[in-house]
């Protein structure tokens, strides 16, 4: 089970409301490579993962992603709190505003709702860990794109922190892949070995 700590993992303090930036950043809240999907993906994959080291990173990174989900929520909140109707119109934020006002809702920048179709939990150790490595890179690219689009240093600072976490997670999942490969049936030359019927459990 989980318990909550009343703090952000890294500070978010944005001085100026800016719905144009909110429209972009919200994609990491509920978009295809966002933090909600990341957390649901890793926490769902834990059950069928045969190796305790990899269960550990899925559990702990899946938990950290919830903290990132909260940071993105805080960024979007601070970018939309106190915005004027003129700012809403000028930013093209009307589509979001009419449905959610200044509420926070998991959607992509395109407006598409968050969906479990963004993630996979395949029940195969190699399949899942490789998906996770790709997911970290996709999130890192998204943060790079946000940094290309956003000038406000108050937004860039926590976004840079989140981008770096994607790199660390990719590294840890890469180590997870090595651990899985080392423990697979050594007679299988190829780096595939379905965990459903072939894994040496320990």
């Amino acid at each position: 089970m989980w318990s909550y700590e009343k703090k952000l993992q890294y500070p978010v303090n944005i001085k100026n409301p800016n719905p144009a930036i909110a429209k972009i950043v919200i994609t990491q809240y509920g978009g295809p490579d966002g933090e909600l999907g990341a957390s649901m993906r890793y926490l769902s994959q834990r059950y069928s993962m045969p190796y305790k080291e990899v269960v550990g990173i899925l559990n702990d990174i899946g938990t950290e992603e919830l903290a990132h989900f909260e940071m993105i929520g805080a960024i979007v909140h601070q970018l939309t709190k106190g915005m004027t109707i003129e700012q809403v119109k000028k930013a093209g934020f009307e589509d979001y505003f009419v449905d959610h006002t200044a509420g926070i809702w998991p959607q992509a920048a395109s407006g598409a709702a968050w969906t479990a179709n963004y993630i996979q939990s395949k029940g195969d150790a190699i399949t899942d860990i490789v998906e996770d490595m790709a997911a970290e890179q996709k999130a890192r690219t998204t943060y790079d794109n946000i940094l290309r689009l956003v000038d406000d240093p108050d937004v860039r600072d926590p976004i840079k922190f989140l981008r770096e976490r994607e790199i660390v997670h990719f590294q840890r999942f890469g180590e997870g892949l090595r651990i899985i490969q080392d423990k697979l049936d050594s007679k299988n030359f190829y780096a595939i070995n379905p965990s459903f019927d072939n894994v040496r459990r320990r």
Binding site: M1, R46, Y47, K52, E53, V55, G56, N59, D60
Partner: protein, 80 residues
């Protein structure tokens, strides 16, 4: 299930339940005292469990020779 873990499970459920009640009744002294009484029981059970069986959270790892956080069983595994 380990009896001490079962005790932690019900004590922490007591805390969750009183927590929710206190969220909407923050000045109810009887409930607040109840919370602190059970929090003390929970703390005692938790440290007893941790020193005997290992950590329930990464923050309570006590071992100095290896990282025991990843040790089995994970909570969703069927009991032997």
């Amino acid at each position: 299930m380990n009896e001490l873990l079962r005790r932690i499970q019900y004590l922490s459920f007591v805390l969750v339940e009183v927590n929710l009640y206190l969220d909407t009744h923050p000045t109810d002294m009887a409930a607040l005292n109840y919370y602190h009484t059970y929090k003390a029981l929970y703390n005692r059970a938790l440290s007893e469990y941790t020193s005997q069986y290992g950590p329930l959270t990464p923050g309570t790892v006590e071992s100095r020779n290896r990282w025991t956080w990843i040790d089995k069983p994970w909570p969703w595994e069927r009991e032997a």
